[in-house]
Amino acid sequence: MNEKVDVLIIGSGASGAAVAWSLADTRMRILCLEQGDWVKSTDYPSHGRDWEARSFSDFATSPNRRRRPTDYPINDDASPIKVVNFNGVGGSTIMYTAHFPRLKPSDFKVRTLDGVADDWPIDYETLEPFFAENDRMMGVSGLAGDPAYPWHEPPMPPLPLGKSGQVFGKAMNKLGWHWWPSDSTIATVEYEGRGRCLNLGHCTPGCAQGAKASTDITYWPIALRKGVELRTHARVREITMGADGMATGVIYYDRDGREQVQEAELVVIACNGVGTPRLMLNSQSGKFPNGIANSTGLVGRNLMFHPYAQTYGYADRPLDGNHGPPLCLWSQEFYETDKARGFVRGYTYQFGRGIQSIAEAIQSTEVGRMPWGPDHHRVYRELLNRRIYLSAICEDLPEEHNRVTLDPVLKDGNGIPAPKVEYRIGENTQKMIQHALKNARTILETAGATNIGTQVPILNGGWHLLGTARMGSDPERSVVNGWGRCHDVKNLFIVDGSIWTTSGGVNPTSTIQALALYIADQIKTRVSDGTVFE
């Protein structure tokens, strides 16, 4: 029997790490259970000659392809967008692009401003100090003064424009459209013990230099020094309930597959927008036969992905290729609602400076651009390092039919039912995608690019897992309240992307972490004044 803890956090990724670090101030006994393991920087693919190949094997973004023992399978056959994630200390921050925009003030007022979906029960101003704190902890590079955002000052200078960035900048200036250097969690100077970016050019599957922030090298070292315990290879099967209607803890499997019971006063779920509803739906009891804190039936519903609409073309000369972090600029010209476009809400363009050499060969062969036979060599040399691209991150609106359920057959290595994803792109988003494709073509043509192609949606583009345990003031229409506590269970909190009321149109990690820090702050305040369970 494990000793009871004050706070049990499930998941050590973007949000779980931030909460652990913040709550460590309280000197409560805090334990985090993580189903994966630590990843050593020497394990990252950039150390070897097979670095591109490993993106298709043990560092594939899809858990169904990666198939590490620490992964769980996901049935996403009924979705045009496949789920990507990583399971280990740091979670999916190990395997993300480090693009770090925030949600905007208007994202929290969608119903008020645009008459769709729901307003969030909190706002940008409330989160602003937590955005700043998180920028400091993760180490953000960028440039102050972006007219698309309220003023904020990233602690490090921006990533270089490079050849590709200048091509895009000139094109955007010709069109009179907004562009700006991206906020990124890639260190451009030495920062808090992290080395500066060396332009390895292979950021997504882990940074061998440690320049990219992942929570295993940002929040966790400090949280551990403060006394938080992190137990790896601990896969939680279910959250348990007491007769008093409170969560009592969890049952999990340790690295040897043995069942363990862990009791806690307060339970925090931080397993992402697919892992969290999966765990909740697997946590069935007499009080909650359809899953813990699921009296509304909303757990797992309203899944939002951000369909990615990518447009690419080829410059007339070699540009940056994969040298340097791939994402260096964004545009939010089309972010805010303009009803004349025929849809509400909007999207961010993230500009890509190029792709890896072999990825170019693979992708161009798959679409028939590159032939087999003697002409293969000539065509490849005309394509290599010339590709530039824009990806539109399109806002998804919450729709209840987009959901995560439990697969009746598929199970993980411990026999726990796996998640099943059913998703289709909504009508408003479809119109948005067409708008984004048209304008992306205009940008590329203005930049002088030719041979333009598209990928819509990006198949393995389910990076952003949002909305499946939504936040709201109305207990009939939401799972958690405005500070992350489940309406149904007063000592159960959710802190990951599941609680997003709407999705906005940006990469979510910055806002997920700011929100987690805010919830942790609320817990601390309410533990202190005795109102946390009221």
Binding site: A53, S106, P150, K170, N173, L198, H323
Partner: protein, 149 residues
Amino acid sequence: MSDAAILTDAEIRDLRTLAGVMIPASDAHKVPGADDELIFADILRSLERDFGDCRRALAHLAQLSGGSFSALAPERRAGIAAAFKKEGGAALALLNRVVLLCYYRDDRVMRSLGQEPRPPFPKGHVVEQGDWSLLDPVKQRSAIYRRTP
């Protein structure tokens, strides 16, 4: 046991012949083909989790060839390969990917492309800062985000 040991001799012959059709050697570019001994050995070692799909693709190729792709006269291979490329589907895509991943990490091929045959870490690359004055027109814009009530 390695994946290479699992493919039959006939499958290996067909795969090697196909690799040479996909990416033949080129005197003009001074590069070997994908059927080069070293590169092909790398391909065989690298089938790994794609082994099953690659084997299915090779079975399809053998069927199209009436038994053996490698036994066909060279002038017939191009036609069969074209049909295979059209019909091969996901299994062929995975096989093609393995061939490309191994071919384009060969030292000789990388040097012919002006690339250094090394892993990205620790040397990395140089990316120029660029002309930051390009941002001046954007800096002149007033706020474009919506104020909220």
